[in-house]
């Protein structure tokens, strides 16, 4: 079908060349167009003189000037168009007939995609059965929300998807809209707060604190909000307050609550850090190692924001250690992999640069780093 259209188009294009070659008409010589042009010029001068726009003396001058130019033009003019040669016409026609398709079709075959139909978004959305594919479903809801931006349910449904896919700003926007349209509940506030935390890479920002506070104003026992506010205190360095808040949360939690483990782990970490940092400042020594298996499990049990924050803090510590002592090829490889997994191309690029500097004296190690960089598509 599409090739039929192509044949038709090619025919039309070739016809544009063939038609004038086939038509019979004598072309005017250059001299005759010159004469016609000066004839018009003289008529113009005459008309202007008649309308009083030109002094008779000026008109006379202009006429003389025009006549002089015509004379000069006919002197220089030698070539008159010859009658068209039949043979040249046939050659031109055949060449066009052959070369235009011979050029267009191979070129199209090399750059075009003939089999690929148009895929307008609206038609795709209509054709896709709901829930066939999560991204398709989200696109469907997005299209729906463009038309009905007052549908709070839609926003509430897509928000977690955005969050999981790292589209934090979209998630925040969707949660804000859901809050506005559907009304405030502690859970909606807390969800928005979590989105803020994740957008800030694990930091409980002032925005996040504000909404968690708002959630607690509606329901003072809301566990998720309490958890994050305690985390906020811990991030501020206020260990005592964090400890107190988490302990209370643990005490209030029902026995089968899934978050008990997490809270307990946080409290232990808090107390552990406090006791560790007191005797000596060498906390960094062992922290560069990968997560032990229990630690890994704990990480998996954390809410997403926490996982991210935890992973990031580990990567940061690794980076810090390498900055002090760069002679550690395994460390650099780990760091590059981590940045790549966290989709941080800028940091990966910077790390690659630092690694090249640190390992400049060891070509074998450097080659390993560069091979990995190429594999991970890290730009230089």
């Amino acid at each position: 079908m599409i090739w039929l259209i192509f044949v038709f188009l090619t025919g039309a294009a070739v016809l544009a060349v063939l038609a004038p070659l086939a038509a019979k008409s004598a072309s005017a010589s250059d001299a005759s167009t010159d004469k016609a042009f000066f004839g018009e010029q003289l008529a113009e001068i005459e008309r202007e003189r008649a309308e009083g726009l030109l002094d008779p003396a000026d008109a006379e001058g202009a006429r003389v000037e025009a006549a002089r130019r015509l004379l000069r033009a006919s002197e220089t003019d030698g070539a008159t168009a010859q009658p068209s040669n039949r043979k040249t016409r046939v050659v031109a026609a055949l060449a066009t007939l052959l070369l235009v398709p011979a050029l267009a079709i191979p070129l199209y075959l090399s750059v075009g995609a003939a089999g690929l139909p148009d895929v307008p978004l609206a038609a795709r959305l209509a054709a896709t059965p709901p829930h066939a594919d999560l991204s398709a479903a989200v696109a469907q809801i997005e299209a729906h929300l463009v038309e009905r931006p007052d549908d709070g349910r839609g926003f509430e449904v897509v928000a977690p998807f955005y969050l999981r896919n790292g589209r934090y700003d979209d998630a925040i926007h969707a949660y804000v809209e859901a809050l506005r349209l559907l009304g405030a509940t502690p859970t909606r506030y807390a969800a928005l707060g979590e989105a803020y935390v994740m957008a800030a890479q694990g930091e409980v920002t002032p925005d996040a604190r504000r909404v968690f506070d708002a959630a607690l104003a509606l329901d003072a026992t809301h566990p998720m909000s309490r958890y994050y506010l305690a985390l906020a205190a811990a991030q501020d360095g206020d260990t005592a307050k964090a400890d107190e808040l988490w302990s209370k949360l643990l005490a209030d939690a029902p026995a089968d609550a899934g978050y008990r483990e997490l809270v307990r782990a946080q409290i232990e970490k808090l107390r552990g850090e406090a006791s560790q940092s007191a005797p000596s400042g060498e906390a960094g020594k062992s922290s560069g190692e990968g997560p032990a298996s229990e630690q890994g499990k704990a990480v998996a049990a954390m809410p997403m924001a926490d996982q991210q924050a935890f992973i990031r803090s580990m990567v940061e510590r690794l980076a810090g250690r390498l900055a002090q002592n760069g002679d550690d090829v395994e460390g650099w490889l780990k760091l590059l992999r981590a940045y790549s997994a966290l989709s941080e191309p800028e940091k990966a690029k910077a790390a690659l640069k630092d690694a090249s500097k640190a390992l400049a004296g060891k070509p074998a190690d450097l080659a390993r780093v560069e091979a990995l960089a190429a594999e991970l598509n890290i730009e230089r």
Binding site: L9, T10, P20, L21, T33, Q41, G61, T80, R89, L121
Partner: protein, 658 residues
């Protein structure tokens, strides 16, 4: 199917463009009328094919067909419709397609409006136009294909750069391209004249309207672009001497020179060789501009290396066409007939002086633009050539040019009388001196502004006084004068308006020296003084837009305790690209403007704000509109013109024109 058909149409247009380049050219050499006749229908068909391809790409953008890489990278399903359409040319591939669309449109226009043109000239012109089209079509197909597809298609695009999501994008590039590419017509005419070895008497007659058409579009395009930069970039500046801006200014200056020398050529058959040269120059500078903007040389010399294919391709096109045209010029120019004679003091003489000054300006801009690039490429050293350089060099050329403009208007063709011309300008001189005193007394420093503003006032009055003098020529009462005024040829209005528009722009530029700037931190309820106005920050709030969220401030502009206007400067955030842009709050009061832009917000609820009062600033763009109007008058004047020498009392020594 529409998309792929569009793709095929584009390829077909390339094949046809080659036919258009070869067959009519061969016809003109063989003197074969039938082969020459091929030029017109192929040019029209080529335009239809490119237009179809362009339509197909637009369709893909409008329906959010994310199987096209170009749509994925520059569109988003929730983008407002107007930006889906204008977004087509808001990216490299699409804008090159628009470039070629305008190029083929120009070819089609030549084909349509050339019935009276000698067959050979037309065949050669369209052949050159076809060659240009083929080169750029091949560039698009091989290095910047907007029809590249992916399968399966993603569900969402990456959105258009927020700075481009503005009505400015809808108007600015098409106008600019009409201007850039419009000069291709004159270029093709010039090349055809050189190939044919003769400039027909009708040559300037055909070239002039196209020059005007391109010049008007370019004038409007540049003015629009500068106003767009003014209100989006948030610094209150409207011209940054950025290489991209210079890229559009260079062909404009060359085009202005061309316009004037083409007038001499049409009326007096003088300056033929020079006019041909300027025709080549104007389009060459357009090509250079395209190269600078499109190759990536500008972002950094190194970006050029990262995408060498495109840069080298455009460079090859550039070298081929500019080099080819100049070589042709060198070979043939000597053989061209020398035209009319004129005395140094005459309309022609004035226009030659104009051309000299304008080409000097143009050379200045070219050097200021290319020198830093060349230096960085060779030594790696980065320097920035900005306003100080251009102001130092251009102002001493531009002000005398402005002084001479009305005088040139008053001189007769062939032999002029300078003292009579000056006498006819005495009113303008008197008003200019009065303006100098008035501006000096009222505004004071900077004195450059005072001087430039006085010259500008003189220029406006002087340009328009030509009309008044002509209307009053035989002093037969006001009614007769009005009748005479309305009976004046349109081109006289054209000259007067274009020159007066230049004067208005100059006045607006001069007045920037008197602008007031207040950079401050404000809270709700605070006020700031700026010039004669008091700005009160009344409210700060946020609101959602279709694909952005916006925080804005409401500011009242007060004068003598009265609120005369409210402005809403804002900051917008576009989540899809995670970028922010400022939206300046602007209100026009009289001819001046109050301009406010928001900066950083602080935790204590205060916000940084830059507030400007810019007296007479709108004149910069009003002047450009008046210039374009003048061009339109001149374009509408379809008379066939011959300049007449007035009988001079004392015979002056005639000199050869070339």
């Amino acid at each position: 199917m529409i998309v792929e058909t569009g793709h095929f149409a584009l390829i077909l247009a390339f094949a046809l463009a080659l036919a258009q380049a070869v067959i009519p050219f061969a016809g003109a050499r063989l003197g074969d009328g039938a082969l020459m006749r091929v030029a017109r229908p192929t040019a029209l068909m080529q335009f239809l094919l490119v237009a179809f391809a362009y339509g197909a790409l637009t369709y893909a953008h409008v329906v959010s067909d994310f199987s096209l890489v170009n749509v994925i990278e520059n569109s988003h399903s929730s983008k407002p419709l107007i930006y889906k359409i204008s977004g087509v040319w808001g990216n490299h591939e699409g804008s090159m397609l628009l470039w070629v669309l305008v190029l083929s449109l120009c070819g089609a226009l030549i084909a349509l409006f050339s019935s009276a043109m000698p067959a050979k000239l037309r065949a050669d012109t369209l052949s050159v136009q076809g060659l240009l089209g083929a080169a750029f079509l091949l560039f698009i197909l091989l290095t910047s294909n907007p029809f590249a597809r992916v399968s399966p298609a993603p569900w969402q695009g990456r959105d258009l750069n927020p700075i481009l999501q503005d009505p400015g994008l809808a108007i600015h590039p098409p106008l600019l391209y009409l201007g850039y590419v419009g000069f291709s017509i004159v270029f093709s005419f010039a090349a055809a004249a050189l190939i044919g070895g003769r400039i027909d008497a009708a040559w300037a007659r055909f070239a002039r309207p196209w020059t005007l058409f391109a010049w008007i579009s370019l004038t409007l395009g540049i003015a629009m672009g500068s106003y767009w930069a003014y209100y989006t970039l948030g610094w209150g500046g409207f011209w940054f001497w950025d290489p991209v801006e210079n890229a559009s200014l260079m062909p404009w200056i060359a085009g202005t020179a061309l316009l004037h020398s083409a007038a001499v050529m049409e009326k007096r058959e003088a300056l033929k060789v020079w006019t041909i040269f300027l025709s080549i120059l104007a389009f060459s500078l357009s090509l250079l501009g395209t190269f600078l903007v499109r190759s990536g040389v500008l972002t950094s010399v190194h970006a050029f290396a990262s995408d060498p294919e495109r840069g080298v391709f455009i460079l090859a096109i550039l070298v081929f066409f500019i080099g080819g045209a100049l070589a042709l010029f060198a070979l043939r120019a000597g053989a061209l007939p020398v035209g009319g004679l004129f005395a140094p003091i005459s309309r022609e003489g004035a226009l030659v002086l104009n051309n000299l000054l304008l080409t000097t300006c143009c050379a200045t801009v070219v050097i200021g633009t290319l020198y830093p690039l060349a230096l960085e490429a060779i030594t790696g050293e980065k320097i920035s050539v900005g306003a100080p350089f251009f102001n130092t060099v251009l102002i001493p050329i531009a002000l005398p040019l402005a002084l001479l403009m009305p005088i040139g208007q008053m001189l007769a063709w062939k032999r002029g009388d300078l003292s009579a011309a000056l006498a006819r300008l005495r009113v303008a001189f008197v008003i200019g001196v009065a303006a100098l005193a008035a501006f000096g007394a009222l505004q004071g420093a900077p004195y450059l502004s005072v001087a430039a503003a006085a010259v500008a006032v003189y220029l406006v009055v002087g340009s328009l006084s030509d009309l008044a003098l002509r209307a009053n020529a035989r002093a037969a009462g006001p009614r007769a004068a009005l009748a005479r005024l309305l009976g004046l040829p349109l081109s006289v209005f054209g000259t007067a308006f274009a020159h007066a528009g230049m004067g208005l722009t100059l006045l607006g530029l001069a007045a920037t020296g008197w602008g007031v700037e207040n950079i401050t931190t404000m809270r709700v309820g605070d006020y700031a003084d700026v010039g004669p106005y008091k700005i009160v920050l009344e409210e700060m709030a946020a609101r959602p837009g279709p694909n952005y969220s916006e925080s804005y401030a409401v500011m009242a502009v007060r004068s003598n305790g009265q609120t005369v206007a409210r402005i809403e400067p804002a900051k917008r955030f576009y989540p899809a690209r995670k970028t922010a842009r400022t939206e300046a709050g602007i209100v026009t009061l009289g001819l001046g403007q109050v301009y406010a832009a928001l900066g950083e917000g602080h935790d204590d609820g205060s916000i940084d704000a830059r507030i400007y009062y810019k007296p007479l600033v709108t004149l910069i763009w009003i002047g450009a509109l008046v210039m374009a109007l003048g061009g339109a008058f001149s374009l509408a004047d379809r008379r066939l013109r011959i300049g007449v020498a007035r009988r001079a009392a004392a015979p002056a020594l005639p000199q050869a024109a070339e």
